[in-house]
């Protein structure tokens, strides 16, 4: 039986030890019978500008994957990493299963207020989403509608280190169970 290939989206690519971190995530996936694929390991396509080569290599890896497990931990702002969000939407648009987790236990409205205090909004009166979600509603919407499970958050309400992997493992376990159900 062909094993399920999982695209490991996330700002993990920006970690100083991105390659080792990717291997740790792939090992966790393997324990749950899933084949993790990490964009950090995609070699940029040659004969392209560097950034276009990376984009096309990532897109090719996404095409080869059946599902995405996205690290939606906020990154440089109140929301998840920009590249990760494009990839999340891509999997939803492709009709492939979408799962996600976040190491932050702070709700999106509180993070948005923190952001606005540090760097004021460009115009007065810009509204805020106040649904008490973990990010802009399109993010939990894409995950719930795309994979059938909510975004996995720290179960004890305590934010984890940016590079912690216990919430990721919990997400992998839940995704594997739901895929084999």
């Amino acid at each position: 039986m062909t094993q399920i290939q999982v695209y490991l989206a996330g700002p993990d690519v920006f970690l100083p030890d991105a390659a080792a971190h990717a291997r740790a995530k792939i090992a966790i996936c393997a324990r749950y019978g899933l084949v993790g694929r990490a964009p950090a390991e995609a070699a940029a396509l040659p004969n392209e500008d560097p950034w276009r080569g990376i984009f096309l290599a990532d897109l090719r890896m996404m095409e080869e994957c059946d599902i995405v497990i996205a690290n939606l931990t906020p990154f440089r702002g109140p929301s998840a990493d920009a590249g990760t969000l494009v990839e999340l939407g891509w999997f939803l648009g492709r009709g492939r299963k979408v799962f996600g987790y976040s190491n932050s236990a702070v709700p999106f409205p509180a993070r948005s207020i923190e952001q606005r205090r540090a760097l004021p909004d460009p115009l007065p009166g810009l509204m805020e989403e106040n649904f008490g979600l973990s990010d802009n509603l399109m993010v939990p919407g894409a995950v719930e509608y795309g994979g059938g499970l909510p975004i996995v958050l720290p179960p004890d309400g305590l934010s984890r280190r940016f590079d912690a992997l216990d919430v990721f493992e919990s997400c992998v376990a839940q995704a594997a169970t739901s895929l084999h159900a």
Copy 2:
């Protein structure tokens, strides 16, 4: 001939006068022969939690649209609005044309530095993309690969007001030309 329906993604939904702003964008689209559809005008589906009703209404509107023209102006952070990015990825994943613009003339690396000065990174040593693009490479990648045109930026290198519409109009004009070419 059926007219092309355009999903007008963007943080415009958070403007205090979102409905009037949406009508202005729809009027600009009409001048170029395109039918603009604004998520601000989608009524949340009943019998759902409020946020799920909005998500499903937006998703239904996206399904009805042929292309997306995304407002990628940075919003509360160095990158575009989170919901907009999910929608951008969705259109790319669906194989529908992707266009986008930004009212900011400040490159992504400079905005990332500003963000890190205001709110330090969660860990030391997190890398930065340094390609001199207008956002994380997945964003210009999705636009260029998805629609065939670069992200439309202020042509004079001067950032516009958050709610200015001249760069949007330029993007609509370029999209309409490329669609009819």
